[in-house]
């Protein structure tokens, strides 16, 4: 019963490599009548996930709410407890690493959050917010130099000197997200984890932020881990895409392969559910492929976790957990025993 995703790619370009990462939470058993001292049950939020992020690429991480994508993102920088598995940052183990390594990781890996306003301290000015990572990670920087760098960063994300002394509540959602991006980038990280960075924004603003992230990535040769539930947005920004369901990897491959020739039934169902802004297509679309909702991560189905909603499930799917391996062309890793079987 393994889901190790074949031999991990370890070229020199690999920044982050995650192997068999598992995050379990312990919760009181018994649902609504549970008490703090009730026996514990295990929420399997992330289960044996393996993937890697290379220098200068964007990996999109998609799945429904509750699939563990945010927990995975948070576990990478130590905001969620890792139960087992390994996270390597440029070849060095981070999970049981020394404190110094953790500090290094936290400088090299930054995060952008979903709710742009809630992730900014309301009592700090924009200048203080954006300067904070530099104060923490590059102590000894002069006051004038600090301000110059904050200003340059703000200008890069489309804000200006006028905004330095303002407070977060004076900004719109899109502007707050620009501040969040400036804060993440000022310490010159190599990887930025974006947890649903545009899902709280209006369409016209969302496109601005997606383009900004794309431009910054190219300019600074950043790597992005872009967590989102909007498949069209992920397509617009990613090079490779990881599809998760109930804590597990369903499919991981190049964007062209995952979107162009999706192999896993779950990926296909997800893509089919995305509405198209064209009445001619929408009015004649196939009925919904995917019925029901996510099963509970407290008690995931045996075998393939997707089998209870899968239109192609057979008896054998209840047996073993399928490994996410290359099964057919194109070379995505797919966790489905039905793929590649003729």
């Amino acid at each position: 019963m393994t889901i190790s995703t074949s031999a991990p790619l370890r070229s020199d370009d690999t920044l982050l490599s995650v192997d068999d990462l598992t995050v379990h939470f312990s919760v009181p058993h018994g649902g609504r009548r549970a008490l703090p001292w009730s026996p514990k049950a295990t929420v399997r939020a992330v289960e044996r996930v393996s993937f890697d992020v290379r220098r200068g690429e964007t990996v999109g991480l998609v799945g429904e709410s509750g699939c563990g994508k945010s927990t995975l993102a948070r576990a990478l920088i130590g905001l969620a407890p890792v139960t087992s598995g390994s996270i390597r940052w440029r070849g060095a183990q981070t999970v049981q690493g020394a404190r110094r390594d953790v500090a290094q990781l936290r400088r090299d890996v930054q995060m952008i959050f979903q709710d742009p306003l809630a992730s900014l301290d309301p009592r700090m000015t924009i200048e203080q917010i954006v300067a904070e990572p530099l104060r923490t990670h590059r102590s000894g920087i002069g006051r004038a130099d600090l301000r110059a760098r904050v200003l340059a960063m703000l200008e890069r994300v489309g804000l200006n000197a006028y905004h330095l002394q303002r407070y977060p509540h004076e900004f719109s959602g899109g502007q707050c997200q620009r501040v969040g991006i400036a804060r993440a980038l000022i310490a010159e990280p190599q990887l930025v984890i974006c947890d649903e960075p545009v899902s709280a924004l209006d369409v016209s603003i969302q496109a601005q932020i997606v383009n900004l992230l794309r431009d910054l990535q190219r300019e600074l040769s950043l790597s992005l881990l872009f967590v989102a539930h909007d498949l069209a947005v992920v397509k617009a920004i990613s090079h490779r895409v990881l599809v998760m369901y109930l804590g597990r990897v369903m499919e991981f491959g190049a964007k062209q392969a995952v979107y162009g020739e999706p192999q896993h039934p779950y990926t296909r169902a997800l893509l089919a559910a995305v509405p198209t802004p064209d009445p001619a297509i929408e009015r004649t679309r196939e009925p919904v492929l995917l019925r029901g909702e996510l099963p509970s991560p407290l008690d995931p189905p045996s075998g393939c976790v997707f089998r209870t909603r899968c239109p192609q499930a057979v008896d054998a799917c209840a047996g073993e957990v399928p490994e996410a391996v290359v099964r057919a062309q194109p070379a995505s890793r797919v966790a489905c025993i039905r793929v590649g079987v003729s």
Binding site: S204, I205, Q208, A232, T276, P277, V288
Partner: protein
């Protein structure tokens, strides 16, 4: 006569610091029985306040002007008591966040039977039977058992189904859905949209769908009204609007939407700038500061809504020049 006819609707809020703010101005539309209307716009465009005004749900510092007649009766001049006969019974509403619009202290049964006991004077037992039927009609499995549960025991998609079932209890003529799928996953969204489409087709319930998602509108609506900064900028049949948007804002919205059919590596087409804060729009067209096609005239004088090829649009620029912008949708 249309089922619901709204003309020159305005919503103005008084503020204790500064002058009043106009959230909605000069909005007119008609909804025929059995039709579906989409109201599209970004946050702050006034789309929610428009329908809240119809149901008398505006905050106490707000005043509503204009007319809104439902089967010939003006909703805006009704006393609360008369309005209560109509809202919840003839015109029902579902909201974006099903968790905050259900009472967390009451079981689903208690919340559903209340409507029936109030509007239909049903007995508790009959109301319960009817409520279970309604839950089954929105495909909630094991409805007879689940009716005794509390809102937090349902998932987001199931809660939205409960809201829809509740709204349908009295078989309303009009269902107003305010961002019903915004908080849901795409897979669940597709199920809810399919459910609304069935309701419309099978029971002939007219639907007003408020959303910022053009994809959802395309799947459900016959007609579309696009709002910007409290005003209607374009209104047409969905078919016409998606095929050839005639207002630069509509074009911008459609262009800004990432699509699965997009060529992979092109940057998204954006609308620069931010929408104006409510009450901050100047004398000209509210969209002019963000519009690539703005003329001097646009900054001085607000364009009025004019009829155009079966729809209306508010733009100084001739439609023929804007039609050239239309998005090319790949087959």
């Amino acid at each position: 006569m249309a089922l619901l006819e709204v003309s020159k609707l305005g919503v103005r809020f008084a503020r204790h610091d500064g002058g009043p703010v106009d959230a909605v101005q000069d909005v007119s539309f008609a909804l025929e029985s059995g039709r579906t209307l989409g109201i599209v716009g970004e946050s702050g465009s006034g789309k929610s306040q428009t329908v809240m005004a119809l149901l008398g749900l505006i905050a106490p510092n707000g005043t509503v002007t204009g007319e809104a007649s439902y089967r010939g009766e003006n909703l805006l001049h009704m006393r609360t008591r008369e309005l209560n006969r109509i809202r919840g019974e003839r015109i029902a509403m579902i909201f974006q966040d099903p968790m905050t619009s259900l009472n967390p202290f009451l079981t689903i049964e208690r919340q559903m039977t209340e409507t029936l006991q109030l509007h239909r004077q049903m007995s508790r037992r009959a109301a319960r039977m009817r409520a279970i039927e309604a839950l089954e009609s929105v495909r909630i499995p094991d409805a007879a058992r689940r009716i005794g549960m509390y809102p937090h025991e349902f998932s987001g998609g199931m809660r939205q189904r409960v809201m829809i079932a509740m709204a349908l209890l009295c078989e309303p003529d009009i269902l107003i859905a305010d961002e019903p799928t915004t908080a849901l996953d795409v897979t669940v969204q597709a199920q809810i949209i399919e459910l609304l489409r069935e309701l419309n087709r099978e029971r002939g319930t007219a639907i007003i769908l408020i959303t910022h998602d053009m994809g959802v509108v395309a799947g459900l609506c016959d007609d579309v009204m696009v709002m910007y900064a409290g005003r209607t900028v374009e209104q047409a049949s969905a078919r016409a609007l998606f095929a050839a948007p005639r207002h630069p804002y509509t074009v911008g919205l459609l262009n800004a939407l990432p699509r699965l059919t997009d060529a992979s590596d092109a940057p998204l087409r954006t609308i620069p700038g931010n929408p104006p804060l409510p009450g901050m729009a100047g004398a000209g067209c509210a969209f002019a500061p963000r519009c690539a096609y703005a003329l001097d005239l646009c900054r001085r004088e607000r364009p009025i809504l004019k009829e155009f090829e079966g729809g209306v649009r508010a733009c100084h620029k001739p439609a023929s020049e804007i039609a050239g912008l239309r998005v090319e949708v790949q087959a």
